[in-house]
Assembly symmetry: C2
Homo-oligomer: 452 residues x 2
C-alpha cells in the first residue's frame, strides 16, 4: 500500500478498526428493513442511531422528514472549507429471511477473523450500505483532522431499497444545503476481490406487480378444470410473452469501443463471479458477454409468484388468484416511464383481466469519466490499494443518483468498496476490514486532494 | 317423492337425521387430511372412529393395514344374503387453509337451517366423502332391517385424495372378501342442484412436481440479472410450452353422438356452475362446450409455484430455486403412464436442468351404462327424487375405481349425491340433509332391488 502521499495516514486508518466495528455493530443490529416491508418504526430508530454516530464525530446532524421515512443529514466541516462534497449512502436494508441465513440471525452482528481480509463483519446491511457509509465518515474525519479544508455533507437515505420514493422531498427541502462541488456514492462493487474499479454507469429499474383474480375461491381441478381460468398459468403465459417481447429493449445505447476495451481490462473472472453469487447455472460463460449482460443490457426478472398451493404434497385446485412480482433492469438511455407505459399497453392487449401496478422506478445513470473528482477517486484507489482501478459499470440501480444529478445539477461519481462475494441482498451478507480500510483511506485521500 | 315402491321407507329415512348428523359430526371433526399433508396419526384416529361407526350398526369391521395408512372394511349382512355389493368411499380429506374459511374452523362441524335443503352440514369432508359414506351405511341398514337379503361391504380408504397409492395392497390382501356382484361409488356429483344424474366416466390424472435450482442462494437482480438463470421464469416458460404442446392430448376418445345427446339433456346451467364454484371468468360460456371441457377433455393445471419472494413490498432478487406443482386431468382412453413418459421426455428436451417428479396417477374410467345394477341405480334415484336421472360424466378422478375394476374384475357403478355448490376441495365445504335423504333412500332402494 502506497502511503508516501499522506504520511501516517495508513496508521491512522489501521487504528480506526475499533471505531468502525463498534459503529457498524450499532447500525447492523438495528433491523432497518425498507419502509413498507417490515415495521417502519425500526427505520426511524435507525435514523436516530445514525444521527448520533454522525454527531459523535463532530458533525451537525439532523433528521429530515419526508412523506415517507426520514433522511439523516450530517455536516462535518473545516472552518476554512474551500470545497463542498456530498456523500450519499442509505441505511435501509433488504428483508432477510432468517431460514436462509446460517445461524438464522441476520441482524446479529458477528465478527470472524479472515486470513486476507483480517475480519469479516457479518449481518444484513454490512456491505449494502452501512459499512461503506461509515468508511466515508471516518475518511472525512481523518482528512479534516489532518487539515483538509473541506466541507463534507453526509446524506443517509432510508428508502433506497424501495426506489427512493420520497427522496426528491429532501432534495427540494434542503436544496441550498446540498448544493456542492461534487457528489460521491460508494454503493457499487468491484469486478473481483483484487481489482479496484470506478463505476461509470448504473442500470435503472422498473418494478411491477401483476395480479389476476379469476374466481372468488379456489376450486377442485377435476370439477372445473378446462372451464375455469387458471390465474397461475395465465401469469406464467403473460411473463413468457413479456420476456419474448421487445418493448422493454427500446432506447438502449450500446457501449462504445472504448468502454468495451475498459471492460476487457477489468479482469472479470466468470468462475469468481459464479462462486461469489453461488450460481450453479448461467446464461453464458464468456467473460465479455457476461459483463455486457449484467451492465449494459436490460433484463426482465421474476421475483416471486404467489397464490395457489405450495405446501406439502399436492392440492388439486384451480387457484382463484395469483400475483407476480417482477422488475425490469434498464440501461442508459432507456426511460422507465416509457417502458412502464409500454408494459401497461402490452398487458392490456395480452390479458385485459390482469391488473398491473407499477412500483418504484429508477432511471439508469451515466457517470462522468473525466474531471478533477473522477481523477481524485482513481488516484485515491490507486494509492490506497496499489492497483490502478479499472472502469466498469454497475448492474444495480440507485434511484437517488439520477435524482441528485437532475435536481441539483451536480454530477455523481462512484467510489466502489463492496465485493461480489459480500452478498448484496443475499443471505449471509458481510463486509470486511480490508475493504473498510481501503474505503477509509480512499475517502481521506479524495477529500484531501479535492481540498487542495 | 315416490314412496309407493317401499311403503314407510321415506319415513324411516326422515327419522335418520339425528343418526346421520351425529355420525357426520364425529367424522368431520377428525381432521383426516390425506397422508403426507398433515399428521398421519389423525388419519389413523379417523379410521378407528370410522370402524366404530360401522360396528355400531352391526357390521363386522376392521382396519386393514397397508404400506401407507389403513383402509376400514365393514360388512353388514342379511343371514340369507343372495347378493354381495361393495360400496367404496374415502375418509381422507383435502387440506383446508383456515384463512380462506368463513369462521376459520374447517374441522368444526356446524349445522345451519336451509329453506330447501332443511339443514346444511358444514365442515371439511362433509360432501367429499364422509356424508355420502354415511348415506350408504344407513341405506344398507334400513334395507337389511326391512328384510333385503343382501351382503354389503363398506370399503373406506384413507388415501384417495393423494391417488390411492397403496389401495392395491387392500385389493390383494382381501381379494376374496371383496369379490362381489357389484361395486357402487357415490363420490361424484349432479350437474345442477335439481337434476339427479348417473356418472358414466371419470377423468384420470397425473400429478407432477417440477423443480429447478440454478444457484445456492438468491442473488441481487442488479448484480447478476442477465447472467443468472431465473428458475421462476424458466418454470413459467416450461409450463407455457407444456400447455401449448400436444403430447398430453394423446389417446383421447371423443364422446359419441349418444353421449353428447345425453349431455344436452342434462340441464347443465352455466350460470349455476359459475355461481356454485364462484368463478368470475371462464374459458367458454357455451353449455355443451363447458361439459365437453370438464368431462371429456384433458387439462394441464398449475396448482402453485413456490420459491422467490411473495411477501410485502418488493425484493429484487433472482431466486435460487423454484418448484411448480401441477397435474394433468386425463380422459378415456388416455394412459397416465404414457403421458408421464412423454412429459419426462418433453422436459428433458426443453430444459434438462429441471427435475420432474411424477406423483400419483389415476386412470380414467368408463362405467357401464347397461345391466341390472345400472338400472337399479337409475330407478332408485328416480323413485327417491321423482326425477329421471340424466347420464353425464365426472370431471374428477378416483384412483381406486379403475384399480377395483382391474384387480377384482367387477364393474364399478356410480350413485352421485354431491352438488356443485357443496364445494369439493373448496373452502366452506358442506353437505345437506336433502341430498343425504336422497342418498339414504336411494341406497336402500338399490340394495332392496338387487336382493330380489
Amino acid at each position: 500500500m502506497n502511503s508516501a502521499d499522506l504520511p501516517g495516514l495508513d496508521d491512522e486508518v489501521l487504528q480506526s478498526e475499533a471505531w468502525f466495528r463498534s459503529n457498524l455493530r450499532s447500525l447492523v443490529e438495528l433491523p432497518t428493513v425498507s419502509p413498507g416491508m417490515s415495521d417502519d418504526r425500526e427505520i426511524v430508530a435507525g435514523c436516530h442511531a445514525a444521527r448520533e454516530i454522525l454527531a459523535s464525530v463532530g458533525a451537525t446532524a439532523e433528521l429530515v422528514g419526508t412523506r415517507g421515512t426520514p433522511t439523516v443529514i450530517g455536516r462535518l466541516r473545516h472552518p476554512d472549507a474551500r470545497m463542498r462534497v456530498v456523500v450519499y449512502n442509505h441505511i435501509d436494508v433488504q428483508p432477510a429471511d432468517t431460514a436462509t441465513w446460517d445461524g438464522g440471525q441476520p441482524f446479529h452482528f458477528a465478527v470472524d477473523p479472515h486470513p486476507e481480509r483480517t475480519f469479516l463483519y457479518r449481518g444484513r446491511g454490512a456491505t449494502d450500505d452501512k459499512g461503506p457509509a461509515l468508511c466515508a465518515v471516518r475518511g472525512a474525519k481523518l482528512a479534516i483532522d489532518r487539515g483538509a479544508k473541506i466541507d463534507v455533507t453526509f446524506v443517509w437515505e432510508s428508502e433506497e431499497e424501495v426506489g427512493s420514493p420520497h427522496f426528491t422531498d429532501v432534495l427540494t427541502a434542503r436544496h441550498d444545503d446540498l448544493m456542492a462541488d461534487a457528489v460521491i456514492v460508494s454503493d457499487t462493487i468491484w469486478p473481483t476481490a483484487e481489482q479496484p474499479a470506478v463505476s461509470t454507469g448504473l442500470r435503472g429499474a422498473l418494478h411491477a406487480t401483476m395480479r389476476l383474480r379469476t374466481a372468488g375461491k379456489e376450486a377442485h381441478s377435476g370439477l372445473v378444470g378446462g372451464v375455469a381460468r387458471n390465474p397461475i398459468k395465465e401469469l406464467c403465459q403473460l411473463a413468457t410473452a413479456i420476456d419474448a417481447s421487445d418493448f422493454w429493449h427500446a432506447g438502449v445505447t450500446a457501449p462504445d469501443e472504448d468502454e468495451i476495451a475498459g471492460f476487457l481490462a477489468a479482469g472479470f473472472d466468470p468462475d469468481y463471479f459464479m462462486h461469489a453469487h453461488d450460481l450453479h447455472h448461467v446464461t453464458t460463460r464468456d467473460p465479455l458477454e457476461m459483463m455486457l449482460r449484467i451492465w449494459t443490457r436490460p433484463t426482465f426478472e421474476l421475483h416471486g409468484l404467489g397464490g395457489g398451493y405450495t405446501g406439502r404434497g399436492t392440492k388439486t385446485i384451480v387457484p382463484d388468484a395469483a400475483e407476480l412480482k417482477c422488475s425490469f433492469r434498464l440501461v442508459p438511455d432507456q426511460d422507465p416511464m416509457a417502458i412502464g407505459e409500454a408494459l401497461l399497453a402490452f398487458v392490456r392487449a395480452a390479458n385485459p383481466e390482469v391488473e398491473v401496478t407499477l412500483g418504484g422506478s429508477f432511471r439508469p445513470y451515466r457517470a462522468a469519466t473525466t474531471g478533477a473528482v473522477h481523477r481524485a477517486i482513481v488516484d485515491a484507489l490507486h494509492a490506497t490499494t496499489g492497483r490502478c482501478p479499472v472502469t466498469v459499470r454497475e448492474g444495480g440501480s440507485i434511484g437517488a443518483v439520477p435524482m441528485i444529478a437532475r435536481e441539483l445539477g451536480i454530477p455523481v461519481h462512484f467510489l466502489p468498496l463492496s465485493l461480489p462475494d459480500h452478498g448484496y441482498h443475499a443471505p449471509n451478507e458481510y463486509f470486511d476490514w480490508r475493504q473498510a480500510r481501503i474505503g477509509i483511506g480512499s475517502f481521506a485521500r479524495v477529500f484531501t486532494t479535492l481540498a487542495r
